[in-house]
């Protein structure tokens, strides 16, 4: 005879990822690495911002990058060419990085602190927000050509941001980007994250962002 039974089990669906993320956090701490999960849409300037930050922060300690891409190693080769430690994760179509990917990549990167580890997530404003990597802070980049409505259209990722960066601020005159509307959109979903304007092309605002990161490192 068939017996039916309901089992009540309140368990997080992503508990396996969350456990690995917690282990990553402990390892980052042990290695003295302040780890930043960098998330943005394709073309917002993730790699350009990383290069600027590597230049600004390398005098203060070690720096390294874990590059996430669906395919290719263009960004990794570029960063390696500049002489910074970098390792590549290719997700082969996957839309986000997970904590297990990071644990494996960290083993390959072989860097230790005190310093900064940047994780460049897959270019996408939806999926990366759902997976904790064990990072200390989430940095979300929006860029002027994308439009000021992105926080209102993709609230999940902006809600989780510890710092919001508006890149390509030097192109303001060419686009209908309303800064007040952008700020209102961020504030509707995230009351506290600082919003910092930068231009990776001119270098404007990079020092302020580097200072914010150094203060974060000090606070750990």
């Amino acid at each position: 005879m068939t017996k039916k039974k309901t089992i009540t089990a309140r368990r997080s669906i992503l508990s396996a990822n969350d456990r690995q993320a917690a282990a990553n956090t402990r390892l980052f701490k042990k290695l003295g690495l302040t780890t930043i999960n960098v998330m943005a849409s394709p073309g917002a300037g993730k790699t350009s911002l990383l290069v600027r930050l590597l230049q600004a922060l390398s005098p203060h300690g070690s720096v390294g990058v874990i590059e996430g891409d669906v395919a290719s190693s263009i960004d990794t080769e570029f960063i390696a060419g500049l002489g910074y430690p970098v390792t590549q994760i290719n997700t082969d179509g996957g839309c986000h990085l997970n904590a297990v990917d990071i644990s494996a990549a960290l083993g390959e990167l072989k860097i230790s602190g005190p310093g900064f580890l940047f994780i460049e997530n897959i270019g996408n404003l939806i999926c990366p927000a759902a997976f904790d990597l064990g990072e200390q802070a989430r940095l979300v980049i929006a860029s002027v050509p994308e439009g000021d409505d992105k926080p209102r259209k993709y609230p999940g990722i902006f809600m989780k941001a510890d710092v919001v960066v508006v890149n390509k601020i030097d192109t303001l005159a060419a686009f209908d980007f309303d800064r007040a509307a952008f700020t209102a959109g961020v504030r509707a979903v995230n009351p506290a994250a600082p919003i910092l304007e930068v231009s990776c092309r001119t270098g404007l605002g990079i020092d302020a962002l580097a200072d914010w990161l150094l203060a974060l490192q000090k606070a750990r």
């Binding site: 068939t2 009540t8 368990r11 669906i13 992503l14 759902a130 809600m159 509707a188 979903v189």
Partner: protein, 118 residues
């Protein structure tokens, strides 16, 4: 959009919960999950992946029930609240007083229960 990863995680979690029963030949017939409005769960897409990934496992043919935790927009000035549909754009302005809205929503996703047959 990341339903394949979520579907696999749901199957793993459900099978682990069923495994606690300690019986052989347990079949999972129903999986109930609770998802926040911002969890990024789209049920038809999730069901498609579950069907494919559960083939040949004890969860093959299981019915998926998704209970969505509602989200709302609350005005910071007058407190007026209105439901927020995750497929829509966030209204930053209160439609009653014109004040600034805040989105109250979560992105958690957990297994609530499973139904097993043995």
């Amino acid at each position: 959009m990341h339903e394949a990863a979520i579907a696999q995680a749901i199957l793993d979690t459900a099978r682990s919960a069923a495994g606690k029963e300690g019986k052989k030949n347990v079949k999972i017939t129903r999986i109930v999950i609770v998802a926040g409005a911002l969890a990024g769960i789209e049920q038809p897409s999730l069901e498609m992946y579950l069907t494919e990934l559960s083939r040949g496992t004890p969860a093959e043919g299981a019915v998926l029930e998704v209970k969505t935790t509602p989200a709302r927009l609350v005005c910071r000035d007058c407190g007026h609240a209105m439901p927020f549909d995750s497929g829509r754009t966030v209204d930053v302005q209160c439609d009653k007083c014109g004040g600034a809205n805040r989105l109250e929503a979560d992105d958690s996703c957990y297994l609530e229960s499973i139904e097993v047959e043995s």
